[in-house]
Amino acid sequence: MTWNELLLMRHEWTLIGLALVLIILEIGLSDEQKNRITISASLLMASITIVGFIPAEHGSIFGGMYVTDPIRILMKNILNIGALIIFLQSNAWLSKASMKNRITEFYLLLVSSLIGVNYMISAGHFLMFYLGLELLTIPIAALAAYEQYNSKSAEAGIKLILSSAFSSAILLFGLSVLYGATGNLYFAGFSFTGSLVTVLGFIFFFSGLAFKISIVPFHLWTADVYEGSPTSVTSYLSVVSKGAAVFVLAILLFTLFRVIQPVWRDVLYATAILTMTIGNLFAIRQQNLKRFLAFSSIAQAGFILLGVINGGGLGMATVIYFVLMYVFSNLAAFGVVQTVEQSTGKLNIDDYNGFYKTNPKLSLTMMLALFSLAGIPPLAGFFGKFFLFTAVAENGFYTLLLVAVLNTVISLYYYLLVVKAMFINKSESPIPVITSDGFMRTSLLIAATGIIVLGFYSPVFDYIMELCTTY
């Protein structure tokens, strides 16, 4: 093993380095200096994100347990951006008195989870995949329950850890069956034929990943956990955790499970329809914005499946591109929600009545985010969604496409409800003028820029398409 080979793991190394720095800082800094951790962590995370983009070699090491290729690197980079934005958005919350002495741990857990994400994406062996998955989940479960004196937070933590334990047990059972059928756990050379037992194994395995992506009917934990968790954690769950699972699902389906493509197509066909529809139907009736965004993100997951179902280069590219835009859009929305929540504690849509009058910039950002999620041009979401539709149309699944586009109409309805609250409804006591901190503003600026620029700047998608031609 050479240095160069080790450098293939630079995403993980840098993150591990960050974790170490955090531990050192925690030990080295006095309590009064703890508030500097955010800025250090953010800056480091920013540099890690940038470093991630530096072109480098790729290949596989550890006998194939760890694999990188340009697509995986891109995926990691996208999720790093998401994590960076979440870092920035967490400051307001962490500055609260109740979070005193717990700032470093927060970042440490988040970074650990991020390391899990990276390993999961780069996994070349099911064990690595499983470890990544658990490393991704366990710290986040702890974070979900991070607000000690908030029973909702504890509830969220319990629901997350127990459901995920249950789902990973099922996933593992499926994996064990697949192992029995193939005798191999390396991705390279993983081959089997479609049979009853492999289908069973696959479904068990799939449900575990579907749980992370919140695909119906494996989604039920989502809303409750999103609502109860601290908003930063919710952001992370809805963006990074979900994005990572989507990526891995796509990679696995497109490579290892290609032999049973007819099987997983049927599965995805059914679950995609269910996911979009159920997500939308529940989102309609939400008042709590975090819950609302939870169901919206379930519906979005359904849309993502449209790209996965494609099973080819176009599908992979559109999935990656969609997640990229979803990172910006969803985090912009969560950023605004977080800002309002931290300064007023208000989370209901009704509370946002007249929001535009008092906080025009925040509400404009929110509108951008929601419109992007709804797929309104010229925002990034429009392109993301349209390309997903392209992917599904390539297969000739026009019925599915029709269901999907009609679902976008429903989704537009509830996104507009929020826009309506902010811009149209009047309020006796609107949310007062809020001044967010510099971190938050930076994060919103990044997200908004992403939302606006991404669509116009086509080379991004063209680049992704080029990478994905291998599928």
């Binding site: 470890l131 249950f166 029995g180």
Partner: protein, 105 residues
């Protein structure tokens, strides 16, 4: 390999155990007992891995290692889960799963 015991029988045991665990997870009211259910499920998976390893792929020990890691992770998971249970208990003085339903619809 256990002489004269067919693989199927081992698999019956593990599958049964898995679903007993699932039953426990789905019916028990106490969070800790739910966790016990999960542990049983994981244990069943381990038996599977070991059985496949021994019966089918004697020259490799991949399943063995997988079981090893599962055990470790189960421990980590249990630790975090219990920490959260305790936290919840502090908050609502109960670890009954049916009380964990403040957020719904």
């Amino acid at each position: 390999m256990i002489d004269h015991v067919p693989l199927t029988h081992v698999l019956i045991v593990s599958t049964l155990m898995f679903f007993i665990g699932a039953y426990g997870f789905l019916t028990r009211k106490n969070l800790v007992t739910m966790l016990i259910g999960v542990e049983l499920m994981l244990n069943a998976v381990n038996i599977n891995f070991v059985a496949f390893d021994r019966y089918l792929f004697p020259s490799g020990i991949e399943g063995h290692f997988f079981s090893l890691f599962i055990i470790a992770i189960a421990a980590a998971e249990a630790a975090v889960a219990i920490a959260i249970f305790i936290n919840l208990y502090r908050n609502i003085r109960s670890i009954d799963v049916e009380h964990v339903d403040k957020m719904k619809y």
